[in-house]
Symmetry: C2
Subunit: 732 residues, 2 copies
């Protein structure tokens, strides 16, 4: 039982009412505000660096309302962020009352809040009347009156269900939210000749530097590095700080903010680093340097262990990479951008389902990425990233079964898709128009971004399917028909437009009416993963594209994610295991303590550090580096939802050459645990029902239920119990 | 020469560079923010009362940029509202520098500012490099880089010219703007039995109450009234305050804000009143009550004086009414809403052209009313008010000739018109849909708001003409063609749809395919004013509608504005003069010191105070009450622009029965002064050229130029000098 559930049980046991209360706001607005605060923590060599895309903001005036009924007079406590008024049954009350008595009976309670700086937020606490997700909220109440004082019909006002998270403490308003911190010490110091000291914190980390007991006056320069080379390269390291200690005050020279001088000084802004090079300028001495490690207090609900210690290390470092990049939102990398990017996020979501299963972070990230209307550009300005945003919602629904979120976000899906469809060409396909960043991947080979890319159309097709799915969920039949038809029509155009019979591949693009000769893996692997090829075509594409050494290699963990997924999808776990050991193992052998933005095994030494034309431009802790978390959970343990929210699951373990493996995959309200070796499988699913699918030389035997044979050496067992099942079988 | 021009002359005389600098921001954003601050000053009996329409907010992150060239190294001073960075030739600089040296030569300077609370604003001061309207600004810079560090093409970024006003002082950031104030004393005190005192400030006024030297502790209740009845009616007065004096602190009980107790206490929020009833609760005594009169420091550039003292009083009270309602923006009335309403504003604009000619206030109001995209409702939720918004731009351009503003606002006109046209019926006409407030007027007779109202279509027609005019100005040929065609087509449909041959009138509406029988003045007088009828039709409508006692009378000064304009337009100044004396003179005889929201001569005593079902709901200082300012300038002095910005004017004086009149009508950069009696006219125009048109029994004689005869007893004189011209003529 989770903490809240157990507290509620305790509350009920005491005979108290079971109502909970929490801070509420206009849905999505808190995320947009918090996202601005987070994205704007990016700095580049001491310069403030906000995103280059449109930054949205919250509705500044919103009205919360609820129809209530109280059996007797009830005093409620009201707290807001912002100026407010209170209307009971249409009558405005004097002032901004912090307590207010509701007379017994049925009432309509409206509280309107205005806040320019941070999202208008409300907390109401009473015996029966409490702020929670059941409140309605609007940003335009349209309650005009006519000359006689008669109120207008307000049926035209658009109400939404109030947004919320887990901010349940009346004394901690949403705008004061911060991540958790704990002190952390360095593991080594290297003295330098110039009076500076290099502190090694032992592994990639994130947080605020603490300067311990500085004595004297002067400037302390702090240079951060994910590598020692970076921290020591004071002219080119990506991030730095300069703190000036005066007699009484301390000044952050980047932000010009000053504070009273105390014994220790903790920097305002968190940074990513493993090393910090601290170099005081004459007259000042710093006794020691420590840090406050800053992190999201998420729970590790997934686990993986196996017979190969290197794979275990890969899983652990992947999990740590994911934890570092799971913050207020899922971000890309912790050093440089610290921004929320849709293409990165959609992978974080999938990894999250096998590690934290933290749905609120998925929802927050989805809301922030979408922002407010009007849509004037692609998400993060990137065409593919807009399309991933839809796909992320598809995945979210499949893993969580959360229809409420689909209902909340659907209107924003509609306006986003309106924007997408307003930019299709005469074939109904997406081409990069002025202002569109057609990204695909950081590839090491030349790739045209002009015309219609097969890759973008495959993503568009899946996005339209997502629209159809969600239209069905919200019960919009017209939309469901429309988007369903469009998805089908586009899918039927993919092969005629891009298929090259000779190359047995989708070619890269059609430009100026001419089909390109280029073949790369991007569109082909997505088409495999989305099931857009028939079986013979898939086989041929595997051979002629995915496993063809003449097709350019992928060098980012980002696209390796999908590439290895394709191989796993074809049962090539043995090969994927080796690729993981080569590629992610390669990073570990280079000393990685978190996984990187890009890894080219051909690079040597400090070549591994450079990117974007800058010697330390590469992020050494990048969410998309953590894909083994997903691959091991989904394709080795083999656990995935078949029906939304794991109402039905499928478990298809594949050792891929490992002697044994064991692990846990979280589900919305439970988990699926597995132990697998060549002879025995133990499985326990505390939520849902579904098949265990295995290959065995002989008919497997279970201590619960009966296996069916479904093909040569293929068997399945229906699992509809939450007790552990033991299976004997014989690995092929 | 205005102050700035003379200062610049002085600067040049000293050999200093002539560059001025001012605070700049994203165009429209400051207005939206300032408008929120102002609109949200409304209170209702101590409750905070924001508007019921969608409240927009500023872009929180914007980038200012300019291509600059400096002959030698130049140090600039930078001040912002918000966190910021500085980029010179694409290179980010350390920190948030308050001074920065630009090396000699050509450069690209970018400064990006983030501010959630108030609009990001920038002030740059150097020898050559200064913040002014020539800077560009964007809210989405789209400057991504590729893997090699190469910057993207930023041609897709939408730049606007920076917004500005007259906030030229680096030490007074835009968010600290406040109106001017000056102390004002009461003229009478009436002691009441219950320990309260009624203070009379002698006339309608606006400002903050000052409680002088309160002694003891306790609560001071302050009840405001535009009438003594209202101030003394503590249960029903529209506005009130409660201030609690403790030993050391003073608490505003409505906002819960506290401050240190000083000798005098000045209330935070300004209020409208003539009377305040101050009633201390036990233990506290207030020595005296004063006020800080709060006002916009606009200049009275227009004037009017004539032989009739009552008309002079009407003009003076009208001018004062206009001054009270000309604040951060043109508002409706000062007591109740204190909001910006488009239908009210469009009249204020016209009066303003004959009084202050303060174009910045027109522009600010136009920007605020429009708000941000997306458009999700009509302006102020009112269909007619959206249409007036377009018409206000038409008028603004005609009076000022300001093409820059048309270029700035045109994209927002387009999206507003998109919204309007998305809501037309199968006839291309506007009907009230769910959520639309179809207002027209506070009429004393029943009037259907269903179906297509002729009134709304006349306004739509003029709005489409405005779109055509502005499309021509911005050089958008497609739009000009489109909107021109639509305006023509709609205009051609007006008579076939609404004309009743028997009644010789446009009927009120068509509802469910059925033409109504109702005739009122609204659509008919607008069609006259817009010149939509031919001459015989106009004459017939005048007789059968406008002068027909069986057609219901108009009882708001709001619609009397247009009604009397129609009469003036037909040369019926003599009648209009009498109507002014009856109607506005009637208010003066009731004791008005400013003009009212509504005046029904049939009402008696306190009936004049009530509206909206509330005993003091009526506003006794309402901008739309001041229309004589416009009527006397435009139709008696007879001055109007013929070509935009008074490049050509026409002067058609009409004494309307007065013995003499004299006055001044401001033009963008000058003024037109007139003296007229039955025998002599003196005219002086310091800007523009144009005709003086007069009726005379004999050929008039001028001491400059020669009159032409243009009809029986009709003469005109071409004026192309800025010296005073004296004319002898003989009034008919």
């Amino acid at each position: 039982m989770n903490k809240r559930a157990s507290i509620i049980t305790a509350i009920l046991a005491l005979g108290l009412p079971a109502f909970s209360q929490t801070w509420i706001w206009y849905p999505g607005d808190y995320e947009i505000w918090l996202g601005n605060r987070m994205n704007n923590n990016r700095t580049e060599r001491g310069a403030f660096f906000p995103p280059f895309w449109k930054t949205d903001s919250h509705f500044v005036t919103v009205e919360f309302s609820k129809d209530i009924e109280v059996p007797e007079d009830e005093e409620i406590t009201i707290k807001t962020e912002g100026r407010y008024n209170v209307k009971l049954d249409g009558k405005l009350q004097f002032g901004e009352p912090s307590t207010f008595t509701i007379p017994a009976g049925k009432h309509k309670l409206n509280i309107k809040v205005w806040n320019q700086s941070t999202p208008p937020a409300l907390y109401v606490k009473g015996k029966n009347v409490n702020s929670d997700a059941s409140w309605k909220v609007t940003n335009e109440d349209k309650e005009w009156i006519d000359e006689s004082g008669k109120a207008s019909d307000t049926s035209a006002t658009t109400y939404a269900q109030a947004g919320y998270w887990n901010l349940d403490d009346i004394n901690v308003p949403p705008s004061t939210f911060s991540l958790a911190t704990r002190p952390k010490a360095h593991v080594a110091i290297i003295e330098k000749n110039d009076g500076g000291r290099l502190y090694d914190f032992g592994q990639e980390t994130f947080g605020q530097i603490v300067l311990k007991n500085p004595t004297g006056n002067g400037i302390v320069n702090i240079y951060y590095g994910e590598s020692p080379e970076e921290a020591l390269d004071i002219d080119f390291c990506e991030t730095l700080d300069k703190i000036e200690f005066g007699k009484n005050d301390v000044k952050d020279m980047a932000t010009n903010s000053t504070s009273r001088r105390e014994k220790d000084y903790t920097l305002d802004n968190s940074k990513a680093f493993r090393y910090v090079y601290v170099k005081p300028e004459n007259g000042i001495n710093v006794e020691d340097v420590a840090m406050l490690y800053e992190y999201a207090p998420v729970e590790y609900r997934g686990s993986f262990k196996c017979s190969d210690p290197e794979i275990n290390k890969i899983w652990d470092v992947g999990a740590y990479t994911m934890h570092l990049t799971t913050r207020e939102f899922f971000i890309d990398g912790i050093k440089r951008d610290r921004w929320v990017w849709s293409g990165d996020a959609v992978q974080s979501y999938l990894m999250n389902y096998y590690l934290f299963f933290d749905s609120p972070t998925v929802k927050r990230t989805t809301r922030l990425l979408r922002g407010k209307d009007p849509v004037t550009a692609h998400i993060n300005t990137i065409m593919d990233y807009t399309l991933y945003w839809f796909i992320g919602i598809y995945d979210y629904y499949l893993y969580t079964g959360d229809k409420d979120f689909v209902k909340e976000i659907y209107p924003k899906m509609q306006s986003m898709m309106d924007y997408v469809l307003s930019r299709t060409n005469s074939e109904g396909m997406l081409e990069g128009l002025t202002g569109d960043w057609v990204f695909v991947d950081w590839a090491d080979f030349p790739m045209s971004k002009q015309g219609a890319l097969s890759f973008e159309q495959v993503l568009l097709c899946k996005s339209l399917e997502t629209m159809k799915l969600c239209a069905d969920i919200v019960g919009d039949k017209d939309d469901a028909l429309l988007y369903g038809d469009m998805a089908t029509a586009l899918r039927e155009k993919l092969l005629p437009t891009f298929w090259d019979e000779k190359k047995q591949a989708l070619v890269h693009n059609v430009e100026n009416g001419k089909r390109s000769e280029q073949v790369n893996k991007f569109a082909n692997m997505f088409a495999i993963n989305f099931g857009y090829f028939d079986e013979p075509t898939t086989e041929s594409v595997m051979e002629n594209v995915m496993l063809n050494p003449d097709v350019p290699a992928i060098t980012t963990p980002y696209m390796r994610f999908y590439e290895l997924e394709s191989l796993c999808d074809r049962g090539m776990q043995r090969r994927v295991l080796q690729e993981m050991k080569d590629y992610w193992g390669g990073m570990l052998r280079e000393g990685a303590t978190s996984f990187w933005e890009k890894y080219n095994p051909e690079d040597k030494g400090t070549e591994h550090l450079s990117m974007y034309g800058r010697p330390y431009g590469k992020s050494l802790c990048h969410a998309w580096g953590a894909s083994p978390i997903y691959l091991l959970g989904r394709y080795f343990l083999g656990v995935e939802p078949v029906k939304p929210g794991y109402e039905e699951f499928s478990i298809t373990p594949n050792l891929g050459g490992l002697k044994w493996m064991e692990g846990t995959v979280p589900t919305p309200d439970g988990e699926i645990s597995l132990y697998v070796d060549g002879k025995e499988i133990k499985v326990k699913a505390t939520q849902g029902k579904g098949y265990l699918n295995i290959k065995s030389k002989t008919m497997p035997k279970a201590d619960y239920g009966n296996f069916e044979k479904v093909g040569p050496n293929s068997y399945r067992l229906w699992i509809d119990t939450d007790r552990e099942i033991k299976i004997k079988y014989k690995e092929i």
